[in-house]
């Protein structure tokens, strides 16, 4: 069975880029447009990994991380946040909320692959 990775971002191009890149590694990609959408979908069907933006209109990334960690099936899944260069503080906040790591935007597909390999093995 393919492992599922969810990409949460309000930018369609980022979601598509994640999907395009990770589908090649053999993952099934589920998209969500913001935190609320993501949570609804994960509650219905847990995923193996989460890649989420931080600034989103409905339910921001950090709150999403906290909520996802409360779902038993997702307690230990890798969660990667997409941050920008200036968001050092957000990285710490996200880690505290239970995120595994981060990728600084903009990122190239190979950087994304490296991080996914790192946390998924």
């Amino acid at each position: 069975m393919k492992k599922t990775i969810m990409t949460v971002d309000d930018s369609a191009s980022v979601r598509l880029m994640v999907k395009f890149t990770l589908a090649e590694l053999g993952f099934e990609i589920i998209e969500a447009v913001d935190g609320r959408d993501a949570l609804r979908k994960i509650e219905k069907k847990p995923v193996h990994m989460l890649i989420t933006d931080i600034n989103m209109p409905e339910l921001d990334g950090i709150s999403l991380v906290k909520k996802v960690r409360e779902i038993p099936a997702c307690k230990f899944i890798p969660i990667i946040m997409l941050t920008t260069e200036s968001q050092e503080e957000k990285k710490r906040e996200g880690k505290k909320a239970g995120a595994t790591g981060w990728i600084v935007k903009p990122f190239r597909p190979d950087q994304l692959v490296a991080v996914v390999r790192k946390v998924m093995g």
Partner: protein, 705 residues
């Protein structure tokens, strides 16, 4: 896939168009009011987003071009530049160019020219750009970037103690360690001493920490990058323990104690405390409860790994060899032997003398002597590969003569063995290989009908196993027929018809002298032409032979040989005032014999198995009477298990073998002598000979009955 990619690019385009139109709106606002901070911020953000997206979707030119404009607006935002009409004009022009770049990505050259012109005028207007230009930090240090490997191997010591709640962040420490191992040669030691017992354990917490010794060409940053997500919460210490270039005049590294102190596993005080003792440092520290066994192991591995890369470096530096006559070498080995003996005396003397100064000198001498001995033995070591390659020709010639197709595979040619052992190994190996091809491997047509590949295989391999080297000769031929061998052996009186024998014991019978003659070749699927010659050679090298075989599948003959002939791992025993040494490799166990022989026969019952024994006191005619409780040392060779009755078993003992003089050449049951720490001579027993004596005695004893 292509369709998806097109969709991806199309989405990127749409988003960029959207950003550009937002950008233009903000530019109009800025034109109206140059102090509109909100407008400046949203312009900066828009350019930043475009730059980022350009980089992500392969529009590098967009990314490069936008970078400088973004820098200008960063300065505007920081109120270092006041926006004027010319900036707004240039910004509008930039928007147009970006739109063009995104829409028709195939005209890069023309766009590039335009971009350069635009940037040039921008720089003319705002010379500050060049200064403000910061070096962009990459998203994840090193990730995906081409890391140019440095040409030298360096060694690092890494201590990684994750925060107990590491699992709660979805991090699997094992993956980090695996990633680390991907960087080079890696030894990982887990410290599990903090794991509580099952009742007190929280399965969601991580109690383990790790020591890693890594030899790699990568730099420290590359190692640190692996831990980038956890470095804030975990305890991570990375230290370079060998920089890969500073000149070393020997491969030696720090002593165990130094490493442990450096890693704060122990305090210098602890070290001083135990250094007065006489045992090995590591053991003492563990005994004293000052340090966990894992820490010692980690430190020892560190020593070994650094030594290895330093040795590699030394080898590169010094490639010259010196030819030395083997006579000189033998002399050196002899002298070292003498030294070992004297050193043993010194240690013994120090032990019984209450003088700490003497004790520490004796200890130092012991260490140096052991090192000198190992090094000297090492000089005599040669790779067995040259002998192996000699057999290629033999295999080729033999298989052609016999009309068989045989391929020879060799493994472990770089395994090193004592020169003498290698020299004396040649003939028995020739014999064994000849046997494999002659009797083991079937003719090609037979093999095909059996469903085997036409070409037979003979594999010759050498591997280290403790203080021994295992030489394996394997073929995929017909194998041995245990039943037939047994029947033949019984017929010859080699075994009792009702004897219980394991397959290995049955196969060993083919090594018995006189077992094999041409007439049984067909009966027992070949094999066994004069294999007793091989047995004799192995015996003289203090080696052992074991045989594994499966009918129809093939045979493996394993020769286990000591690394060197000059030293023996022995079991020291005593009878009366006399000392003897038994080769430890032959010894199976020691049991007590209480109250003398039962029913006057030399047979002991060891856990339900009958073991015949001889009294060495009688064998060697040693006077005096035996103690009440005697010891039986049970030894075995391929065919038999036999006990030797002695007064006392003293213990293990590594000794240098001295050959007996010519006068004693014909002595039965003694293979050499050695000098003990107190200067007394101990004779080394020839186990195979003695077993034969027992067997003969048993047979004649039975005959009398």
């Amino acid at each position: 896939m292509n369709e998806e990619y097109d969709k991806l690019i199309e989405t990127f385009r749409e988003e960029t168009y959207e950003l550009l139109s937002e950008l233009e709106t903000s530019l109009f606002e800025l034109e109206k009011d140059p102090h509109n901070g909100d407008a400046v911020s949203s312009i900066f953000r828009a350019f930043h987003s475009i730059k980022g997206a350009g980089g992500m979707f392969g529009f590098d030119e967009v990314s490069r071009f936008t970078h400088d404009i973004e820098t200008v607006y960063d300065l505007v935002r920081g109120e270092k530049i006041l926006p004027d009409k010319s900036l707004v004009d240039l910004s509008f022009a930039a928007c147009d160019l970006i739109r063009e770049m995104v829409t028709s990505p195939n005209e890069v050259q023309a766009q590039k020219k335009k971009a350069d012109e635009l940037l040039a005028s921008l720089r003319q207007l705002f010379p500050e750009i060049t200064e403000a230009k910061k070096t962009g930090k990459s998203a994840l240090r090193g990730a995906g970037d081409l890391v140019l490997p440095a040409a030298r191997l360096r060694a690092y010591r890494i201590r990684f103690r994750p925060a107990p709640d590491i699992f709660a962040t979805g991090t699997n420490p094992a993956l980090l360690l695996r990633e680390l191992c991907g960087l080079g040669q890696c030894s990982v030691i887990a410290h599990s001493d903090s794991i509580p017992d099952l009742n007190g354990m929280d399965p969601e917490l991580c109690y383990t920490s790790w020591d890693v010794i890594l030899t790699t060409e990568q730099d420290m940053d590359a190692i640190r990058d692996i831990f980038i997500f956890v470095e804030d919460t975990a305890e991570l210490i990375i230290e370079m323990i060998d920089d890969g270039e500073s000149a070393v005049d020997s491969a030696d590294y720090k002593k165990l104690g130094e490493i442990l102190v450096e890693k704060r596993d122990i305090t210098p005080k602890d070290l001083q405390k135990v250094l007065g003792g006489r045992k090995r440092l590591g053991e003492m520290l563990i005994d004293e409860g000052l340090v966990q066994p894992e820490s010692i192991q980690a430190a020892l591995i560190e020593q070994e790994q650094v030594r290895q890369i330093r040795e590699g470096r030394l080898k590169k530096e010094v490639i010259s060899n010196i030819r030395v006559s083997s006579e000189k070498l033998d002399k050196l080995v002899n002298l070292v032997g003498e030294l070992v003996t004297v050193q043993a005396r010194l240690s013994r003397h120090a032990l019984y003398t209450d003088d700490p100064e003497l004790g520490s000198i004796a200890e130092e001498v012991e260490r140096l002597t052991a090192e000198l001995r190992d090094n000297t033995m090492n000089i005599r070591m040669l790779p067995i590969g040259t002998t192996f390659s000699r057999f290629r020709r033999l295999v080729r010639d033999l298989s052609t003569d016999l009309g068989k197709e045989v391929e020879m595979v060799t493994e472990g040619g770089d395994t090193e063995l004592d020169k003498t052992v290698i020299e004396r190994l040649g003939d028995p190996l020739v014999h064994l290989i000849r046997n494999c091809i002659d009797h083991g491997i079937e003719p090609p047509q037979d093999r095909e009908s059996l469903g085997k590949p036409r070409k037979g295989m003979v594999r010759l391999s050498a591997t280290h196993s403790g203080a021994n080297v295992l030489i394996e000769i394997e073929d995929d031929g017909a194998g041995l027929d245990a039943g037939a061998i047994r029947a033949r052996a019984a017929q010859r009186g080699l075994v009792a018809t009702d004897a219980e024998l394991a397959d290995g014991e049955i196969f060993s019978l083919i090594l018995a002298p006189g077992f094999s003659t041409a007439e049984h070749i067909t009966n027992i699927s070949g094999r066994g032409v004069g294999l007793d010659v091989v047995k004799k050679a192995a015996d003289s090298l203090r080696g052992e032979i074991s045989i594994r075989s499966e009918k129809g599948k093939g045979t493996i003959i394993i020769l286990s040989l000591p690394l060197t002939l000059a030293i023996i791992e022995g079991l020291l025993i005593r009878i009366g005032e006399e000392h003897f040494v038994l080769p430890l490799s032959a010894v199976e166990e020691c049991v007590e014999l209480i109250g003398g022989d039962s029913h006057g026969r030399h047979i002991a019952n060891v856990r339900g198995r009958i073991v015949p024994y001889i009294r060495l006191r009688e064998q060697f005619a040693i006077g005096g009477s035996a103690p009440e409780i005697e010891q039986i040392v049970i030894v075995r060779n391929e065919t038999a298990r036999v006990g030797f009755v002695v007064d006392t078993v003293i213990g293990e003992n590594q000794t240098v073998i001295k050959t007996l003089g010519r006068v004693y050449k014909g002595l039965e049951g003694i293979s050499g002598a050695t000098i003990l720490g107190d200067g007394t001579v101990a004779l080394i027993l020839d186990v195979s000979k003695l077993i034969r004596i027992v067997e003969e005695g048993e047979v004649s004893g039975q005959a009398i009955q």
